[in-house]
């Protein structure tokens, strides 16, 4: 297992990150105190965030291997192992998850008033599952955590959600579950084909037959495209976002959606390179469809959460576009854009949540003209909105720029087809911003609104910090992923050639 790199200074850092939130959640089961629950959850998630920092400082940017690896036998009879590790593809997502969780808890401080302990338990279990998904290198471990995530998320929407919470939570659950059934079939096939091993790195870069690859790719595609979500598999997303509590929306947008695109990079490209090459054009045009569709639909929304949800469809379309142009700029841009979307859209959902806490409405109409009374709030909102439509100097611009540069290298037509998406993004974000800050001549009376309090400002500041850090100095972030992507593409091109040649041999 030479794909693993064990770091002797931090032998158990990843397991600590995975199990600390879970342990925290278990303890909360025995405590019946709301105040304690809030502080405890905040403390645990903050501790996890701090403990995750050495991942970045001790990460070897010259190696494409899975670092900080840990490996234990788990179910010997089925050869299931507990193997975890991070590489350039997953490290940023792990960091995003650990850093965003304390902020989600801060954002729920006064928003959640009922069953606070249960809510915090759900959030902490979520964190364990999410981190596990990004770290797992055993396919069964991955699949268990992938499915395990559904339950706390289902509860977050179903218990603390809005008026149509049951509909939304069931829709979310069924969509994601349906997608992953085929994934399980694929996993079992891979297990059989690979000498009864679930070890993911060993499944990569094997020359499976083209037919098998196409079936596998379709299984992966269904699971991951629903998760991203790609057009036309997106309909669960607006429903879930609208009904979810703020923290749920933030986790959903910032982390959960990334699992789909992460899945493409981790599994679809290395395990089915020939099928990826074959089906790439369809995925690319589906991404374009998502970008344009998301943009137009967002433009028509009156509900702020729906607007941001549809904008996510567009933004994630850019991410899949970047992944499937299959060049360095595209994929690096896509990973960066995954992080950017997590930061910016997460922050936008927080902003909408802050308005909702005050007015108890997500309608754009009822939030018009608050600029005069909440200047601090609209300043934050303005920066995040600008970031969302890729204003130069902010994080999303860098991601979009790299993705489009990669796309232009692949095909000028394709890249030009994505440009209307960028125009639409500016249109719907500026429309929302204009309405919230200025409104029109018939604004409702907003003079009773209070501006942000210190807790809310502290929640938003880290997001703003990253908006500008990635916007003006993205190089450290790109360095983290660079070697892994270079390695991924090298291998991909080597095996894509072999597989396609083999396929042609069979066909003739």
């Amino acid at each position: 297992m030479d794909q693993l790199l064990i770091n002797p200074n931090y032998p158990h850092i990843l397991s600590t990150l995975i199990f600390l939130p879970l342990a925290g959640a278990l303890l909360l089961l025995f405590v019946q105190n709301e105040y304690f629950a809030r502080y405890w959850a905040l403390g645990i998630s903050a501790l996890t965030a701090i403990l995750s920092l050495p991942l970045v400082s001790a990460f070897d940017t010259t190696s494409a291997k899975f670092q900080f690896a840990e490996q234990y036998n788990w179910v010997d009879s089925l050869n299931i192992q507990y193997v975890i590790g991070v590489d350039g593809i997953s490290i940023l997502l792990v960091m995003l998850t650990t850093l965003i969780m304390p902020l989600c808890i801060l954002a729920s401080w006064s928003y959640i008033k009922t069953r606070v302990q249960a809510f915090m338990i759900c959030l902490l279990i979520m964190e364990t599952a999410m981190l596990g998904v990004f770290m797992a290198l055993d396919f069964v471990l991955f699949y268990i955590l992938w499915e395990a995530m559904l339950i706390p998320m289902y509860l977050l929407i179903g218990i603390w959600g809005g008026p149509r919470k049951i509909y939304a939570s069931i829709k979310f659950f069924l969509y994601t579950l349906a997608g992953s059934i085929m994934l399980l079939v694929g996993i079992i096939w891979l297990y059989k084909t690979n000498n009864y091993s679930f070890f993911i790195p060993d499944m990569m870069w094997q020359n499976y037959s083209l037919t098998a690859q196409v079936y596998l790719f379709l299984a992966f595609f269904l699971a991951f495209a629903i998760k991203v979500p790609m057009f036309p598999f997106h309909t669960w997303l607006p429903a879930a976002h609208v009904e979810a509590p703020t923290a749920g929306s933030v986790i959903l947008a910032s982390v959960l959606l990334k699992m789909g695109t992460y899945g493409f990079l981790r599994f679809a490209l290395p395990i089915t390179p020939a099928a990826t090459t074959l089906l790439m054009p369809y995925v690319l045009w589906l991404s374009i469809a998502g970008i344009i569709y998301g943009g137009f639909t967002a433009l028509a929304q009156q509900d702020m959460k729906k607007l941001i949800a549809y904008s996510s469809v567009g933004h994630m379309g850019f991410v899949t576009l970047g992944i499937f142009v299959l060049n360095l700029e595209g994929i690096e841009g896509a990973i960066l854009q995954m992080i950017n979307h997590g930061i910016t859209t997460g922050a936008l959902f927080l902003c909408v949540g802050m308005i909702y806490e005050r007015t108890h409405s997500r309608e754009l109409r009822s939030a018009t003209g608050v600029g005069k009374y909440m200047p601090i709030y609209v300043t934050f909102l303005a920066f995040f909105s600008l970031s969302s439509f890729g204003f130069p100097g902010t994080n999303s611009f860098v991601g979009e720029f790299m993705i489009l540069a990669g796309t232009f290298k692949h095909s000028t037509t394709l890249a030009l087809a994505a440009i209307p998406g960028a125009v639409l993004a500016a249109a719907y974000m500026l429309r929302m911003l204009q309405k919230i800050i200025w409104g029109g001549t018939d604004n409702p009376d907003q003079s009773w609104l209070n501006d942000l309090n210190m807790r809310e400002i502290i929640t938003l500041c880290p997001f703003l910090f990253f908006v500008f850090w990635i916007g003006l100095g993205p190089q450290p972030f790109i360095d983290l992923m660079h070697i892994s992507i270079v390695n991924l593409l090298d291998q991909f091109h080597a095996h894509q050639g072999q597989a396609v040649a083999a396929a042609e041999l069979i066909l003739h």
Partner: protein
């Protein structure tokens, strides 16, 4: 870094001064004297900083300040060269004058939200200075977009239906063109050349010789339309729409800062990204000159039909902006000289005209030209300044505009383009046609029925003095053209 570039933190300070001014204005908004004091101090400091760069730039050196590295070949870097100085000097010097003027205007008119107004005004200047000092396309685009966003609150200032409509049109035109044309152009240029830095001189451009020609032509067209602040038809509608803003905004931004950002970017890209040689090789220059020639004539014709003084000035601006692009597009030495120097000449003359329009509105509450008959006798200084600035627009000696016209005419002859020559002559006639009646009506026309002009006198001194200063500079630029021309010569070599 070669010997002709000098790293200088002065550029950063100059950029930050308007930004600090903005913050000062925001936090001192309660006391209007302190607030306006901060604005004027910031404007003067900025002007002095820019002026202090003059000797270095004139000695043929370029000031550089590196700020951020985004990607290899994409940085945020500031530079001051001949071309930057032309625009930076104009923007910073006119800001000092405009601060006093707008103080007078806003107070006399009891406008609301003056703190926001002053803050956004300073932010717009921050953007304009950033554009002037951009060292590459990314920095240029960054500040270009900052100007778009920060001027929205100024256009929507009155917050009535008319204001919102004008502002919506404004932001839709500017951001849509930027996203639809500039963004893909920027990325494609990066993909083709691996960099977004400007070329060191105006001849070579940054494209490698073996590049796909039709792609470069497409990029050129994208850039021409992408910088829609340049007012080139058919993307000019935002400008008349933006005239709903208070007059100081129209004056400084829609006659100087914003539109000049547009033409500055356009010409900067024509000269320093595509380069004279590439433009010659792909035959881009002369078609561009004729294309914007249409805007020159058409906008003048439209100006003739406007009775609202500010609208007439707006269409005149559209026409005059295209002079600048036309001159540069001729690609002859005199043409480029004439185009670039018009950035300066038009700025001082047009701000005078807008200042006058504002003064007339404050003193007499008149917006329409047809209501101004005989008003010149009541407001002789204002209308006198208006007359002088009109002469500059027409291109009559000894006022600044003459220098432009002369160079453009020489340039069109150098390029052997009789058509351009005819366009210039026709547009001069049209200029006379829509400017002369205003002055003639004011001084020699009859008062409208029942109008006595009782109680009307010249606008307050805080408005009148800026008018006279801007007007005087317009004349001085015509008599001593070499002061600004030496920066143009640094560009053209």
């Amino acid at each position: 870094m070669d010997i002709t570039t000098v790293s200088s933190v002065k550029l950063l300070i100059a950029l930050l001064v308007p930004l600090i001014g903005t913050l000062g204005v925001m936090f001192m908004g309660k006391n209007e004297n302190i607030r306006e004091g901060i604005s004027s101090i910031a404007s003067i400091v900025l002007f002095l900083l820019v002026a202090s760069m003059i000797p270095t730039v004139l000695s043929g050196k370029t000031l550089i300040f590196h700020m951020f590295s985004i990607l290899p070949g994409v940085t945020v870097t500031l530079r001051a060269d001949g071309m930057s100085m032309i625009f930076a000097l104009v923007a910073s010097s006119l800001w000092t004058i405009a601060v006093f003027y707008s103080m007078g205007y806003m107070r006399a008119h009891h406008e609301h939200a003056q703190t926001r107004f002053n803050a956004c005004f300073a932010l717009a200047i921050f953007g304009a200075i950033g554009v002037a000092f951009s060292d590459n396309l990314f920095t240029l685009y960054l500040f270009y977009e900052i100007v778009s966003i920060c001027t929205y609150p100024l256009v929507a200032h009155h917050q009535d239906a008319e204001g919102y409509n004008g502002a919506r049109k404004y932001i839709v035109y500017l951001t849509t063109t930027a996203k639809a044309f500039l963004l893909p152009a920027l990325i494609l240029i990066y993909v083709l050349t691996g960099t977004l830095d400007f070329a060191p001189n105006i001849s070579t451009g940054i494209f490698p010789p073996d590049v796909n020609k039709s792609l470069v032509i497409m990029l050129y067209i994208f850039c021409l339309f992408g910088f829609a602040k340049n007012g080139v038809m058919p993307f000019h509608h935002w400008l008349p729409g933006a005239m709903v803003a208070p007059t100081p905004v129209s004056a400084l931004l829609h006659a100087v800062a914003v539109v000049k950002v547009g033409v500055f970017c356009t010409t900067r890209v024509m000269l320093y990204v595509f380069g004279v040689d590439t433009m010659h090789a792909l035959n881009l220059g002369i078609p561009t000159a004729y294309f914007v020639g249409f805007t020159v004539i058409m906008a003048s014709v439209l100006a003739l039909s406007k009775n609202n003084l500010k609208e007439r000035l707006a269409y005149s601006t559209i026409s005059q902006l295209s002079y600048i692009i036309m001159g540069v597009a001729l690609l002859t030495p005199a043409g480029i000289d004439g185009g670039l120097i018009h950035i300066v000449n038009h700025a001082f003359s047009k701000i005078t005209l807008f200042f006058c329009a504002g003064a007339i509105y404050i003193a007499a509450h008149k917006k329409d030209i047809s209501d101004m008959g005989g008003l010149g006798k009541t407001m002789p200084f204002t209308f006198g300044a208006f007359a002088v600035a009109s002469l500059s627009m027409i291109g009559a000696p000894p006022v600044a505009g003459f220098i432009t016209k002369w160079n453009l005419l020489v340039g069109s002859i150098q390029a052997h383009q009789i058509g351009i020559l005819l366009i210039l002559i026709a547009s001069t006639m049209l200029n006379v046609g829509y400017f002369a009646p205003v002055t003639i009506k004011a001084f020699f026309g009859k008062r409208p029925e029942g109008e006595t002009y009782q109680g009307i006198k010249e606008a307050p001194l805080s408005m009148l003095i800026p008018i006279l200063i801007a007007c005087t500079i317009s004349v001085l630029l015509g008599i001593f053209p070499n002061f600004m021309m030496q920066f143009v010569k640094v560009v053209t070599g």
